[in-house]
Symmetry: D3
Subunit: 279 residues, 6 copies
């Protein structure tokens, strides 16, 4: 393969995930590496962590594209006696660049929640839960329909099969026997979208804590309202990785550029096992 | 029983859980009801929700003592077309008062995390993870020792047996075979205490989201650090209910006052079931 | 009378006083009561205070409509050992709902200052002192003309006759012999509108304190400017009550609904008497 | 008289009214004039307004000492086409300095509220309503006792006789027949001190608006609490003028310096007349 | 000459330098003096300081027009024991008004940076570095071309000859032999415009400190970028004085009004000499 | 030489320049590099810029100690297409660590301003201009005496000889013939210390802009006050480099550790030449 500079890869990524779409508090784009250096092997991962760096070094990656920023808030040091600084040293020493597409990938069309919606079995048209003001075809979250109604318990089982396995699976709130068809999803921590999901039968997202979930279910029990499904943050965003890899590869191919892509197999959900008392 | 005015019950509660100990953002104390009215039956619960009100009405309670405030942020309406306003109408119509001891119960000695520590099997002395500046014998969280080391997996199983059952149990991060002995616990959402638990072998708390848990484990993997256990917010605070009921009853008994107390059996954790893909 | 649910009354009130017109810091709408319950007797009052509740209970009102919010700033408690919490308990126990139309009634057309303008004798067209940006036919305050010029002293006497009596009447700043014709008025505390009234001959409002009144008169004396009249806050808003009662009753009548309305006769101005030294 | 430089007068004033005692938002001290210029005639007034400047020019004053700042908030212009700028030009052209003692005079001992307390007939010891943290013998407001109990109506009449006459006198809230003995007073706008006056029988101050006065009386009616008397801001602070003139003159006399002092007779309350409807 | 009131002069100045164009933090307009008083002699200066007042008194000026505000932040005193208060006293006593045109003169067309651009030898069309949002023909800074390229050293020498002499002249960053043609300039402290000047060959402004200058040159050395020239703040704004005097005089002449104008010759740059070690 | 880990060097530096002394907004400590790696050659410089990195690479340095932080405000990227990111890549690739001692070195005793004071010829005792609240022997700036009085011009010449040469030398404000003896100095941008230097005859610092310098000299001319000398920021901090190198080397030597130190000879002042018009 003729070497392709990183800058060309970045331009292709940003034609799909425009950095201008990112939230003002976000930190997207190139984190380390030199745009002039050649790239032929690209690893896609949710989290920029040590296990993913191991995978990148072992495979000989030139670039890691992650969903989560390494430094969401600014840092004044990359010293190697911190986990993140050690990662920076390791990547620079191994000539591996790191690039982040975060909230700009969330709101893209297709974006993170489209991939999630398909993974849990939605088959028809999808529309954003919170459309972007400047382009309502983009936005946060997605809502769509199942091909036919399922019980909540059956839909949860189907969702669990469609997402990568974590130690703990999914948590479900609501009556398991309830029939559901309209499904809202949001990859990652979706509590800020709870208010937009009232018209659905289920809202599936991640990182739901006690008070938002409890208030949502109390209000729903009183005023009618959706069931909730809580999955691993990592698992809800992972389906975006093959989607992004495919879009990048095909976009480059259309320009006559060939790269190797790989989707990370490292589970970066923190939870490794569970415990439960007997009934 | 000669009727005891609510004001006497409140005075006794506040001798144990001084409202001045509550955080500045908190909202503790009497939420509805009249301090001059008599109280003979007192229900203890974690959350002021409809299921708990059902239990109180059915039992004929005069007072509900909850850990969580009904209105943590102020409200300008208690209209009955909202879940919380309907609760207020129901309680007032049924002459049931509502009283909250929240962060003042968290930092009390004994307090919420003491009860949690005992429930998961800590047997020796306990000290606060974040001592209160004005009295270091009080504070947030507790740290103590197991009678003898256990594997992380065995300790998690013991903790699950000690806590009330929820649909999903406990989630564990770290090597299941690791031996653990020094245990830090914090009832409720404990992410703000992650920094104080570095010297323990395990930190058990609730409401841990992906980024805090993942950063904590990444740093721990790099610099040495504890395992994490995440339990239901409700389950970690429930052990405080019998403790508080006992302290109130014995404090009143010492003054010659008899009341009936009951600990709510309603599970107010939002999650009712789980789903998991096959291995 | 066939019972009309409170929700129908609210819908009619909000067709006249749209809650969306209220200031962002305001708290309008239903404060307590159940929209599904029937309403046949409606009391209108400026202030949600104990004397007004007495009047409502004695008359058998189902609903009190007030101008002032009970909780302008949010509350975390309605316990019955506070004046406001006791009011909530009394209203709920007596099945009396409480509804507030405040700054949305101020800016309505007709609204609070229209009623005030008519009460003090303005007869022609009225326009807002500070027009609403989205609809300049609405807005805060009103300015209009007297049928013919009066001395300031005579206008003040006419205004006093047109407003409900308080213990202290009106206070007047400026030359009593000055002829006035263009009159600006603003029901309630109008100091934020002082800058908009420069072109009138008189500005009549309430709650004027020393520094704003003194600076306004100093500037006026230097640069030409209006006289000031200060009346009781309650008295300047009271004329709105019969106007609102009439609009509600006629609006419901047009839908075939009959309700009984009453305007509160309780003086809720705080001042009960005056004292003065001899000349 | 041998000429005394303004700087010596200022030093004497500041030995009684230390500028360091002023609130952080206040603006006390010399506003215009030259500390090196001689001063022999000093006029004391509440407000730095045109009528007071007329009096100063007519009498030939070298210095005006006022309670209220001319520019409480900073100005970027003293141009003569504003009322305040015209005052600055007139004073500078006439070699009249302007000096302000405001919240430092409020908290002094004796200070503004001592003079007010004596003026309304308090005869015994006085203590601050809100003691200064650094010296509890100083502070805002005063509370003391009448020589013997009076009805509220009789005390109000006595207070009216003790204060300089304004067009409207005093407003009184509470039962006129109530016996009162413990009296709290605060010169000027005292609403921030309402919470400190709960234990008195009466709180006399100025600039009380509807909502603070109404809430105070509602709470008082519910929980027991004082009556209120509202007087002109100017009238409540005027008694301080002869006190301050006397203290300055005697302080200078002890250093062998003689100055002429005069207390302004200009009424700077904005209200010139009243109106009332017939009973 | 028939006397012209100051108000007429101000109206003419404001037709050229609209006060509405000033930044929100700025303080422009009349600082002292009376708009009704006659003006025949007008002095233009950069800074309202004692040396300029000397010049005004000596010449018999009725008005000083300065670029810099006397009180950019508000003052609560003009007492004569401060440098600024003494200036106010001196001007009022000598019937000299003071008027400021600051950021409204910066963004005018022509404005401060136009005059600077011409003074340093730019001959063709000029456009703003940061165009005003409401009118892009106005704005901060100017960019234009030299008639033909010069070395940086030669351009700096030409700029030094075009500006009034100060003790220290100009400081230059960049390679002296570099050929330059596109020149960006900004009168006064221009560090906030560094980001807008990237496409020029040189950016000439004033008050550049170490960190902004160093970061600008580091980035420029890395990514290509302009040289910098730092001149005295006073010297970069002085060329505006004859421009403004000429525009005012000709504007008034068109209305048949004659005034005398003079441009201050006082150097108000603080630096009076320099020192340097031998090579 | 036996290799010494970077962590030992850091511990020695921090025994002299305690990071806890740094301002809350500052960013001191290790910026890149691994504390476990060996260090034998240490370069001291004011600024972490490309020219200094060239010097470090050429000499084979293991560590650069700078006064200025690379990232004073946090960064979310170290990508190599920015000047600072390229520096990070270059240092990591060349195994060169970067460490910063900034405001903790300013307030140390001896610290940055001590070295400056000696460089400009102060010979006796020195005390801080703004003593540190917790230890008044430390602090910002220094004030001391010359061995005997000099004219301002002669002192400026002596200071210029004592500091490293820059293209433009020193700027002096005040009467060159004035005799001076008490000298205040502050390395780096000292405008925040202008108020503390009133009692000296001269204040020498860097980065003085027009308005602070002009207001300082106007006030001084009115009320008596010091002359000012403005030098290059870099030049005023450079004398600290040999001082710090010496303290580090001797501290390590006392522990039996030998390192090579070097003081950077790169001039990092941005200004490379000057221009001046003829007299």
């Amino acid at each position: 393969m003729f070497p392709t500079p990183l800058s060309v890869i970045i331009a292709e990524l940003e034609s799909t995930y425009d950095p201008a779409w990112a939230e003002s508090w976000d930190a997207v784009g190139l984190v380390c590496g030199n745009p002039a250096e050649p790239v032929s092997k690209i690893l896609f991962a949710v989290d920029p962590v040590a296990g993913v760096a191991d995978e990148a070094v072992a495979w000989g990656a030139d670039l890691i594209v992650t969903h989560h920023p390494l430094y969401l808030r600014g840092t004044t040091t990359v010293a190697a006696d911190t986990a993140k600084g050690a990662l920076i040293h390791r990547l620079i020493k191994n000539d591996i660049a790191l690039y982040t597409a975060h909230t700009n990938a969330d709101v893209a069309n297709p974006g993170v929640s489209d991939a999630l919606a398909r993974a849990v079995g939605l088959t028809g048209a999808l529309s954003p839960l919170r459309p972007s003001p400047d382009d309502p075809s983009r936005g946060l979250g997605r809502v769509g329909e199942l091909a036919e109604p399922l019980t909540l318990q059956d839909f949860a089982a189907q969702a669990a099969r469609g997402l990568p396995r974590t130690a703990w699976g999914l948590r479900v709130a609501g009556d398991p026997a309830r029939l559901v068809r309209t499904i809202a999803v949001s990859g990652g921590a979706g509590d800020s979208l709870l208010g937009t999901a009232r018209a659905a039968d289920v809202f599936l997202t991640a990182d739901l804590r006690h008070h938002p979930a409890s208030e949502f279910m109390q209000t729903g029990a009183f005023a009618g309202g959706p069931a909730l499904i809580d999955a691993a943050h990592w698992a809800t965003e992972w389906p975006w990785l093959p989607q992004a890899a495919r879009l990048l590869a095909s976009g480059l191919a259309a320009k006559g550029i060939t790269v190797e892509t790989r989707v990370s197999q490292t589970v970066t959900d923190a939870w490794t096992t569970t415990a439960q008392c007997e009934d």
